[in-house]
Symmetry: C2
């Protein structure tokens, strides 16, 4: 994946050659992408694949259409949350029986935060990153306020985490890849530090699942959750996933229980008694159609390893950074870390008119996205992004910066909703 000519700038021909030798290149054909468009927004919403169309229509026409209510048994709908969890487990370094797919990410976080706080009743602080995604911050504050004792949420700068990790910290909640900067945190080292302080560790994997190798077992992480619509390509608002380490199962309680998580759901008992294993974290019937979309989206992982994806991801982001620096020297601050070990699968460029840059790129067929106040964010999803896309994307960025000059402020105050 290295540059073909050491010491000189990568050319478009080099990129064509890299694509020709790319083992992942055949997978691009599985996805629906607009002709001529360069989609660098898979970190927001991945594209639809052929397998998704097939699987969803199989549910609509056959499982629901013909099987009707019988399909809860006959088509395995009851087991879909745990079966999809097991499919997803290898991508995040989990064991079979440690992952569940259902609901949306914020509800999954609510279950884990509520459950975790009940396990450390003598402690009164949840520690998180002030740069964490905002839904995470809102739900942790909400669940802390219902912990049954005074619990304070401390959202601190990342560099202050270690200092703040005192003996009163019950839970640390962090997102492995920063949604804005793309910084990748050291899961193993941080989890160890948290455990050494006697606290529990909850990882949000929204921006890392399907993009970087994750080893929850190796890191001895307690809990994790993530969404299905970014690098997992499960569709808009796709079901989320939840990880509870085996040793916590049967111990951690689901604070948002429902009948499908009951040990005997069809006995209709008055008191809740949790099912064994991950089933206890199912609440009520999740959308089977939504699960089917994610099920189809996971098919691609039968043909590719996360290590192959990671290798190409780093090559793509390296290439993007190289070309931006060479073609637009000094124009952007590259916020994303240069060190591979600290980089997710996106590159964030800082510019005072970042919103306008993203809008102008859109007009030229390059889809990135903007994050307030000054970040232009580009995701590089190796399953369908090519080296030539990176090259052409940077060329169009050069066109934008040349054409607009970006000394006018026509975009400065508008905000996108993507």
């Amino acid at each position: 994946m290295a540059k073909l000519e050491v010491g000189s700038l990568t050319t478009r021909d080099d990129c064509v050659a890299l694509d020709a030798n790319d083992v992942l290149a055949p997978l691009r054909g599985e996805f629906t992408l607009n002709e001529g468009e360069i989609y660098l927004d898979g970190n927001s919403l991945g594209p639809v694949s052929r397998a998704v169309l097939t699987r969803v229509n199989e549910v609509l026409k056959t499982e629901w259409g013909q099987g009707l209510a019988r399909s809860w048994n006959d088509a395995g709908w009851m087991e879909m949350p745990t079966r999809l969890g097991d499919r997803l487990a290898p991508l995040i370094g989990a064991q079979p029986g440690e992952v569940l797919v259902a609901d949306t990410l914020t509800f999954m976080l609510a279950k884990l935060i509520g459950g975790a706080l009940d396990q450390r009743v003598d402690r009164h602080v949840v520690l998180t990153d002030v740069a964490n995604f905002h839904s995470d911050l809102y739900i942790v504050q909400a669940m802390a306020s219902r912990a049954g004792r005074p619990v304070t949420v401390k959202a601190v700068e990342r560099g202050a985490l270690e200092r703040e990790l005192g003996g009163d910290v019950a839970l640390v909640m962090l997102t492995q890849v920063d949604f804005r900067s793309g910084e990748l945190l050291d899961m193993k080292a941080i989890t160890k530090m948290v455990h050494d302080a006697g606290a529990l560790m909850l990882w949000d994997l929204a921006h890392s699942a399907g993009a970087v190798p994750i080893d929850l077992s190796g890191a001895d992480a307690d809990f994790a959750a993530g969404c299905g619509y970014k690098y997992l390509n499960g569709g808009p608002g796709a079901p989320a996933f939840l990880y509870v380490r085996k040793s916590w199962q049967g111990v951690l309680e689901n604070p948002l229980p429902g009948w499908l998580g009951h040990a005997r759901p069809f006995d209709f008992e008055y008191l809740y008694e949790p099912a064994k294993g991950m089933q206890a974290f199912v609440t009520s019937s999740p959308s089977i159609i939504a699960l089917a979309a994610l099920d189809g989206a996971l098919d691609v992982w039968d043909r590719v390893t996360i290590d192959q994806v990671r290798a190409k991801s780093l090559a793509l982001t390296d290439l993007f950074i190289e070309l931006v620096e060479a073609r637009l020297p000094g124009v952007f601050e590259i916020v994303t870390p240069r060190e591979h070990a600290q980089r997710g699968s996106q590159v964030a460029l800082r510019h005072p008119l970042a919103y306008g840059v993203i809008q102008s790129l859109l007009e030229r067929g390059v889809v990135g996205d903007f994050r307030d106040p000054d970040i232009a964010r580009f995701g590089f999803a190796p399953l369908y992004v090519r080296y030539v896309d990176v090259f052409d994307g940077v060329e169009r960025l050069v066109d934008v910066m040349d054409a607009e000059g970006f000394d006018d402020s026509r975009f400065a105050t508008r905000r996108p909703v993507t």
Copy 2:
């Protein structure tokens, strides 16, 4: 809809004639139903309609496939929860801007229970029906345990509700149509009684939305929620809906907040500030594919009124009761009330071998379902169930009871999972 020959048993020819004159008859063609099968389980899962297939594939192929992340704006995905809520509002007697569609029913109940308890901090009891659906019972116990003060859940016999409605009751939560017996409660009278006691009223409409006329506004109900997969035909695990009376909006707080419910979601503020109106009850991105299915399913309501549906529903359940009593006298206890004002859209028959009855009917192409310990449950969804289906269904039930004798216990201990 009356019987054609007063005083004599309705014949199959009568049923054919009733179907020929049925204004709802043309709607049956919109749904996928198995040839020769009689589907009396729409109270569990409604069938798929043509509009659902169209709408879901439009989302898959165009909105997601081509629009990608832009469709959050360009295809109105951001507004889908409130737009679908407004579509659904007339079915439940709500005003525009009072209903939201997202998540699943148990989460919606969690939001309302948690929010309601915060509004009556001087009261310490939630009153509910011991025959309520079990997910409702589990989530109310869970949310009561996180109310920040001691709150007791009292689940009592329906007849004892009035007696238990003391000055310490903060919230009453009832399901309008009993999932087992099909009994329809008097929403207006009960809501008034609850309000007279100074408590708040939360209605679960799972078994009534799309089946009986509901007048939340007229009853002055505070809160309600229901699911989309029964008489609304939104698909397995379809999104749920939530109703918050206008006067509670801006007052009731969402205990499970997320970024999409924030007043300024794209400003990424650290503190949660609720959006105006129902948007504050959105948590994180709901599945757009699942919402699209329900969106398509609601199309049929552009062509029919709930009063037309109710009239046929009562005619169908009257007919079923009449035929069961005439053809199988004394064999079943008819649990569902005879009085129209107390009947939902299902009929429950009690029999010690009810599970076996349902299994044997399945083998003969009649789909009902079983509810522990001894209820055979039959739903009559007027959008696609015909009078002849009722007639033929009872004839097959007669065959079952004749053939099996039902003195053997081959089915007595098995339990279905539907």
